[in-house]
Every structure is written in C-alpha cells, then in structure tokens.
Amino acid sequence: MLADGLYKHADSVNELLARYGVKFGIYKNGEFKEQLFPFDIIPRVISAEDFNFLERGLKQRVKALNEFIRDIYSKRQIIKDKVIAEEFIYSGSGYLVQCDGVTPPKNIYAHISGIDLVQGKNKNWYILEDNLRIPSGASYPMIARDLCRKGVPEMFEENRIEDNRNYAELLRKTMEYVNTGGLSVILTPGRFNAAYFEHSYLAEQTGAHLVTCDDLTVENENLYFIDYSGKKEKVGAVYRRISDEYLDPVNFYRESLIGIPHIFDIYRKGNVALINAPGNGVADDKGIYYFVPAMIKYYLGEEPILQNAPTYLPYYEDDMKYVLENFDKLVLKDVAEAGGYGVVFANKLSKQEKENFITLLKSEPRRFIAQEVIDFLDLDIYEDGQPVPRKADLRAFVLMADEPVVWKSGLTRFSRNPDSFIVNSSQGGGFKDTWVLKSK
C-alpha cells in the first residue's frame, strides 16, 4: 500500500531531482566532482508522539547551546563555575577570539541548527552531533517532497503527514527577526560549492537575493548589495553559506580571495546580522558535545530530555581508564575532524594499528572522544526492486527567532554500503524524506 504507490515513482523522482540539479559537490583527489545525491523513495516516518518528544528535547538543547555561546563570548560564567574544562574551548579550533565581547542582534547565535540523531534498536533516540556553523541539507527533503507530491498526490491526502514546505517561511522569519534594517540575502561562495543547489533553492523559496561576495560591499559602516545596474541597497541580514575564516580578509584569514572586507567590523557594531553567528564552532566541537548535558542543567536548570550517545573523554583519567579497558567495543573520533572523517571503529583495527592508536591516544588525549557503538535501528531502502535494511541517521533542523522552532521534517541520510555506519553525503550516502505524522 504505502510503499507500492511510491515504488513505481522511484526512478522518475530521481530523474526529476537530477534535472533540477539536486547535486552534491565533493572534492576528491583535488578535483571537484558533482554527484547526484541519491534519493530513496521510502520515507522515514515519525509518529506524532515521537516527534513531540524530539521537539521538546531539541528546543531545550538549542536553547542551552545558544546560551553557552553567548556566555563563552561574554562573561564565561560556565568556566568560572568549572562546569566545563576550559582547555576544550581555548585549544579547540572552533573558538574565535575575534568574537569575544561581540553581541549579535537579538542575542541569537544559533539561528539555524542541524542536530544529528540516531534511533537505536531499543527505540531510544541519541544525539550524535550538533551542527551550529552552516548545517546544510534542508533543501533536499523539501524538493523531494514537492516532487513526490506531484507523483502520488493521493498518498499525501490519505496519510496525515505534516507539510514540510514551510521551511522557507521559517527561514524567512528567522532572517527577518534579526534583520537590522534592509534586505535579507543568502551569500554563497559560488557554484563550485558542495551545497550550491541548496543556496539557490533556498533563495528562490524565501525570496531572498542570492549573492556572492562581489555583490556586497561595506561603506560608511553599513553593508550594501550592488545590483547589476550598480544600484545600492542596504543589507540587514546575511545568511552566509561561507565559513567564518573566509568571511572577512581584514579580520580573519587574510589570504582569503573571497570575503567582504570589514563585514565583521560592522557586525561588531550591530549594523548587520550574520546567520549563523561567527564563532559558533566553539559549541559544536566533538569535545564540547560531551559537556552539553551539563550545559542544559547549568543554563536551564532542567534535566536533558534527549540523551547523548554514551561518550568518554580520555582527557579525564577515569574516562581514559574505561576507554583502555573497553577499547575494542568503542568508536573513537578525532575532535578536529568532520564529515565522517577521523572516525575509527576499534574492532576494525589490526593488532598493530590498535597499538599505534593507543600510543597516540595516550600522548594526545585531548584530541579524541570515545563512544559506545550504538546499534542503529535500520531503515529500509528500495534497491533493485526490493526493500533492504541500511544504517540511517536524522538531521533535525531547529530555527530560532523569538523561540526555537523544530521543522516538522528533516534530512534522513543513509549509508548505501550495508556494512557501514557512515552516512555522510560527502562519503557517498543517500537521503530520504522524513515524514512527521499529524496527531490524531
């Protein structure tokens, strides 16, 4: 029933996605290649009750993370109270000293958060990772839903599925809420960026201008958009899809060939909103992840609703002892890496590799976290005419205006390799739509 109706559209939807340019660019061996982001027709379905629980947990988590970023760049109360080890902040690559003492418009740092979760075989949800810099991926379930609705409209009439096409509206509100007066724009590094499809799609859907750095200029303490005719218009919010270091060559990485000189100086003065705020990396580091449950208690005085995957910090002696005693059953992650790189499953190591790794771990304990391997709940994907189980995660999107709002959908990513736990699109994974059911 549900599946049959969709199966016959699997090929046509993928063809349409290809035609719309739903692609993912990756750099491999120094070469830029665009590849299609394979779409699986079988949606992940989340019940209203389940989603309600996730929603409460995600709002709580993002509120606490936002408070944390604000605290770290202002009073540093959490360090003073020794709830968090300062070394993980100041030795981490995510902390940007330039942001110290800077207050962003409306005190919002994490405007758009992408929180990665997995569901275990025990049906419990676990947070895997917080992405507070430039989380990408919302456009994929948006366009896939749109195409599926065209193919099988009756499916969406018969099932009580939350419409996910409101993402653009949520994003527009998020930008408008912090806008300091003027246009809202989406800043893309250009068409060779891995997520260019998304930048252009979101611009089209929100009605924001899609701009590159060359279209923006700082004059007299304000940011302006210069259109093709040379006309200047003031910009009040920039949803920038370009990382902190390349944002402003007179304030960050000076060799950067892109960027807008002085944009950070006027941001510091409160004359423009940058979405997300620069410096957010301090809160989504794999080492900081360990402290998020403590942050929730510290800032909100609440018990965490959503759990972390059980995590150990070899930096602490007790944790190191546990890690060494239980090494073979753990997964180790390099805190400086992202995108599924720097992840080591201890049981896959040879004897020699294991010895080498332990030596490295002992000499640089701060560099790694260790986690219990979560036995993910497999989701079916449709392959060669039949459903087969694969590992999958869920990226939930939380958008913050006056209050955080959880988008009633999300990007479900799966591993195409039956033996792999790594679902990242940069490693060749695919995606599914995520259906949230309406409450009865």
Binding site: R76, E86, P249, V250, R254, P261, H262, D265
Partner: protein, 262 residues
C-alpha cells in the same frame, strides 16, 4: 611617581604598482589602561576615504577603513604622550586568563623547546609564576642571541629557537611557549621603548591576580619607560596592519618609532 613620555609612530607602505579599493585595519595606537594614560594623541592616515575606530577583543584600539582612490603610497602617523605609573597594577580574575594559557601556532613548543624546557630546574622550586617565568627568561637569554634578519614575522617560537637567533618577537614567543607548557597565563605585548628605531615586543606574565611585564630581549622586568601598543596571544593578534587591495605588486613597509622623555 609618574613618568611622562612622548611618542611618534610612523608606518608607510610603498607599492610597486598602484593599488585601489584598499581596505585596512590598523592596530598601532597605544590605549589608556590602569598603568598608562594616553593623551594629546594625534592620528594621521593618508590616503583615506573612510575610517572608524573600535576596540578589538583584547581591548586594543583599531582603526579600520578604506582608501578608494588609486595610490602607490600609504602612511600612518601617530603621536601622543603617555603618563606611566609603575605602581598601578593591571589586574584580572584568574578564570578570565584561560585564553592565554594554551599554545597558538606561533607559540607551540616543538621538540627543541620541549627538550630545553625539560632540562630546566623543577618548577616547584619557584614561589610563583613570576619567579618561574623570570628564571626561564634568564635561561633563554643565556642561550639565544639577538640577530636581525634571520627570522621574519611568521617565524614560530620553535623555528627561532632551533636557530638560537632572532629578534624581540622571537624572544617573546619562546618565553610564551615555555610558560604555556606549564599553563602559566601569559601574553604577547607589542609596544615602544625610549630611543629611535622599530617597535618592540615583550611579554606579560599572570601572577597572583596581576599581569607583570617581562622583557626577555633585555632579560629584565619592564620599568615605566615601556609604552604598550597592543596585547594578544602572540604577534599575530597584535599585527599592526591587516589590509587587502587590488593591484600592488611588491610592497615595502617602513616603520619608524621615536620615544623620548619629557
């Protein structure tokens, strides 16, 4: 006792080919703090189309702006007077000093510094951070020679120590690298001292609630003739000019400093 000093700071850039759309961010203006009071300050920047002032995260005064018109020469002149009171302390609460405890790319101790550091006397023999840092400064001074032209602005502490030669920036970076191995909060200071020449660099060591200045190039604690321009984790945080422009080819920078007692 307050000492009054007069200072002149000049920086110029010459471009081989004309530049335009020149965006600059300058950090070469002494600021008033607990120890030094700046007055009668005069700043001249040429050419300039727009300029604005701000304090960076370390409290350093910055002037940023643009020079739109085509030019092959850019200059900054700063003059002013400083009253320095050596009895006034620069204080901070301990939890605010974390940023200065950990290595940066320029102050990372590699094998050479680590080896040297291991051979020092045990830290437990010293009463406090200041005495410990003072001792490390003495040891560094004995094993390092002031030589110009062998290191550059992006030379790391480890590279300079490998050469055992360098200038004030290198002395400061190496001392910071050693202090940070022991998690002693310490920072890099760019500034000026009496006489004519270039800018100088030294360090501040956090000791029992206050920052104390050590000048490893001269192997001494700083007195009231040192005018601070900026502070940060290392020389990069204190960079005098971060600019971008179109055109230019090769560029030559000239810096002249003059400090005299009034």
């Amino acid at each position: 006792m307050i000492r009054r000093l007069q200072y002149l700071y000049h920086m110029s850039l010459k471009f081989e080919l004309p530049v335009h759309e020149h965006h600059f961010k300058l950090r070469c203006f002494p600021s008033t703090d607990a120890r030094q009071k700046i007055f009668n300050e005069h700043i001249e920047i040429y050419p300039v189309h727009f300029r604005s002032t701000e304090k960076d995260s370390f409290g350093n005064t910055c002037v940023y702006g643009t020079a739109n018109q085509t030019h092959d020469h850019f200059s900054v002149d700063v003059e002013g007077e400083a009253d320095i009171d050596i009895n006034k302390k620069l204080t901070d609460e301990e939890y605010k000093t974390g940023i200065f405890k950990y290595e940066t790319p320029l102050t990372k101790a590699g094998t050479t510094i680590r080896k040297f550091h291991l051979e020092l006397e045990s830290a437990s023999l010293f009463a406090n951070n200041f005495e410990r840092a003072f001792y490390m400064m003495n040891m560094l001074y004995d094993d390092f020679s002031y030589v110009q032209g062998v290191t550059g602005i992006s030379t790391t502490a480890e590279e300079a120590f490998d050469l055992r030669r360098g200038v004030c920036q290198d002395y400061a970076h190496i001392l910071l690298a050693m202090c940070r191995l022991e998690r002693i909060p310490c920072r890099y200071i760019a500034g000026m001292i009496p006489g004519e020449g270039a800018t100088h660099a030294w360090t501040e060591i956090y000791n029992e609630g206050e920052w104390r200045m050590l000048d490893p190039t001269h192997n001494r604690e700083c007195d009231d003739t040192y005018i601070k321009i900026s502070s940060g984790r290392d020389a990069k945080d204190c960079s005098i000019n971060q600019g971008v422009f179109y055109g230019g080819g090769r560029q030559t920078q000239e810096i002249k400093v003059k400090v005299s007692e009034l």
